[in-house]
Amino acid sequence: MRFKASIQNINTFTKLTASLNSLGPLAWVKLSDDQVCFTIIPEQGTQVWAVLSIDSIFDTYTVQSAANNVINLEVPLAALNRALKSAWNATSAQIRLTKKDGMPLLALTIVTASSSSHAGFPTATAEDDLDDVYDQPFGRGSRETTITQEVPIRVLAHETVAGLHEPQCREPDVHIILPPLLQLKSISDRFTKLALVGKSTSTSAAPRTRLELSANMHGCLRLSIRTDAMNISSVWTDLNNPELDPGQVEGIEEHPSTRMKQLGSADGRSEEGWATVRIDARDWSKVMSVGRLGGRVIACFCHEFALILYVYLPSDSGEEESVLTVGSSGDGFYSLPSWRS
């Protein structure tokens, strides 16, 4: 069993692990010849099914195993994220599967440019500064510091993960591109705080605060929260409802979203045509953490049933191949649809 790769896109990988870590402490990672999958299935809350193309993160990637060159690992996300953070301004970073004292681990070897510039400058007087400028390229520069971070992991047998499948869900009633997630997050966090005012937040017995999220097929998104004392909502308009790709989705005329298009209006004032889901506010705040990846997010609403977010990783080539599927609220999920680009 061998796995070795150099990390080409440290930034993306770090943000990805940080986002996933908000949703659960452990991820199942499936390494295969053509893709890397991260799966998080917490006991309750939001599931994540992330599929990444190799070259969105890695470079010179080799994976070998007796099971069709597939390796399944259980990885603690906080440790992996911390390890990746130390590669923040690295000149190179490599990750490999190894064993130490019989314990499997992912070893990250990070090479950073030497911090030799520290040696003189803080204590240097004005004249010394000049000398330093000349000294560094020749005398003290060009050295490297190597950092090795060892992430403890578990290797999972093929049978353990064989039964794992992305949940199926009915076709969504509404699909919409979300506004910037930072905006959405700060508003929903604010709503949640307001709803919690005066409640004893420490008792776990307190009823869970639920946000109500609705969208229609005319570019409107509505976020609201209702308590005994208040009812606040915020409405976005002029958002984009992406078109379904007729080549990939059969029977567009029969698709629920086509029907929803007949209802409602673009100013968001009509009471018709909304698909609504209710989400645990804390869970939503965690989900919004994926915004740090900066990708396009399509939300799919199955009315009163489930909300699925598709997060597309931005890539250099302009193609958006890697997708994170984040399912929230309710018990059902559905398979990956295709969107006309």
Binding site: T14, S115, A119, T145, D189
Partner: protein
């Protein structure tokens, strides 16, 4: 009756804050020893594996300093111990602020009220703030005997010196939950490896709860000096090390390490502008693994060592070195009241020849993406008034290895155990 009065300028008061923060990581109580010439904070941790002595020079550190111990003449001393948190709540952060914003002071006057005609003994701190506001704090203290850990630098032939900011960058890689630090000198003599790790938990799912093991391999040329037996491992507590490095970094000074072999104490030393910090730490490691060094290189080393003379000469030496000393650096408490590992203010970053600090931008950006913890009550800081601290934490302890050599000195009745080795050097 003791007389102890001193005055601190805001920069010095901020440094007292910084050093109390550091000592607070070792012990809940800090002991004070005032002599005619100098003022020393000491702390010993509960497991007695780490001892800190931070000495403030009477002339250099204070704008005025007067100490007349009640007895003992020129060698007399005034000693007491106090709660570190109580002192910290007086020496808050942001005491020094050139713009005179909230919390900034004009000067700080400290005196000890310990007279037979007064009913109360108090440690009195007066903070003179702007607009003539004077805040007076009266702290209780406990009379204790202050002991010092003895460390024989002549025996500690393994030494290195590195700038604290470089070391600070390295410790930022360490996982916060690790316990031990292995300092390893490469076999080839060109590298030093600092490895933070935890004794493994090997059962079942708990394996994944192990914190990251981090090894930072540093080229020895990144050190200002490095002279350690090749292949020597020495293990100390990583939290102690982090506390020391973070404090040394507030002074922007060089950090020096002195040690001999595993199971023998190790000392870190640094200081500037009349402040000398010495930390003596217990070490562990495989005693047999270290090669017995031949006498020749050891001898050679002592001759070439940057500072072979023991500590008593330190103050004099640093005064002599003053012309080369750096400009006083603004204390950390001014630029960032609360240092989160990995975050650093942009301003200090800019001054570092463009060397971007670790993680900074990311962390700042990251915070807004973190899920909100609605249960998080606002942090409150108080101090423990229960007076349950063990007053008897101060005892003499020393490196047993050097006992053979100091036996003669010990048997000499006239020498107090608290004297520095240099002072009794003439006796043997």
């Amino acid at each position: 009756m003791v007389v102890l009065n001193f005055t601190l300028i805001p920069e010095a008061a901020a440094k007292v804050h910084d050093l109390l923060v550091c000592l607070g990581k070792f012990s809940e109580t800090v002991a004070i020893e005032a002599r005619q010439e100098r003022f020393t904070f000491t702390a010993l941790n509960s497991s007695k594996s780490a001892y800190a002595a931070l000495t403030l020079d009477g002339d250099q550190f204070f704008s005025s300093y007067e100490c007349i111990p009640s007895q003992g003449g020129p060698d007399g001393r005034f000693t007491c111990s106090m709660s570190t948190r109580a002192l910290l709540s007086v020496f808050k952060g942001k005491l020094y602020d050139p713009l005179g914003r909230d919390g900034a002071i004009d000067r700080c006057e400290v005196s000890v009220q310990d007279r037979p005609d007064e009913t109360q003994c108090r440690f009195i701190v007066k903070m003179h703030c702007n607009q003539g506001v004077v805040k007076t704090y009266k702290l209780t203290y406990e009379a204790v005997e202050v002991m010092h850990a003895l460390f024989d630098r002549n025996a500690a032939y393994n030494r290195w010196t590195i700038h604290s900011s470089a070391m600070r960058d390295y410790i930022e890689y360490f996982s916060p939950r690790t316990e031990l630090l292995d300092i390893f000198a490469g076999e080839d003599g060109n590298s030093a490896v600092f490895k933070s790790y935890t004794e493994k938990i090997t059962s079942g799912k708990d394996v994944l709860k192990n914190p990251l093991a981090t090894a930072v391999a540093v080229n020895t040329s990144d050190f200002d000096s490095f002279s350690v037996d090749p292949g020597l491992h020495i293990i100390i507590n990583v939290k102690d090390f982090k506390a020391i490095v973070l404090h040394a970094d507030t002074l922007k000074t060089e950090l020096r390490a002195y040690y001999s072999q595993p199971t023998r104490p190790l000392q870190f030393s640094y200081g500037s502008d009349g402040l000398l910090c010495e930390f003596t730490l217990m070490t562990s490691g495989d005693y047999n693994a270290s090669k017995a060094p031949s006498a020749v290189p050891r001898q050679a080393h002592i001759e070439t060592a940057p500072r072979p003379r023991p500590t008593a000469t330190e103050a004099r030496e640093s005064r002599r070195m003053q012309p080369e000393m750096p400009q006083p650096v603004a204390p950390a408490s001014q630029s960032a009241s609360r240092r989160v590992p990995g975050s650093r203010k942009e301003s200090s970053q800019a001054s570092q020849n463009g060397s971007a600090s670790l993680f900074v931008r990311q962390d700042e950006e990251d915070a807004q993406w973190e899920p909100v913890d609605y249960n998080n009550e606002e942090e409150t800081l108080g101090w423990d008034a229960s007076a349950e601290h063990d007053p008897a934490t101060f005892q003499t302890f020393r490196d047993t290895a050097s006992r053979a050599r100091t036996q003669k000195a010990e048997s000499n009745e006239g020498v107090a155990p608290t004297q520095r080795i240099s002072q009794i050097k003439g006796l043997w």
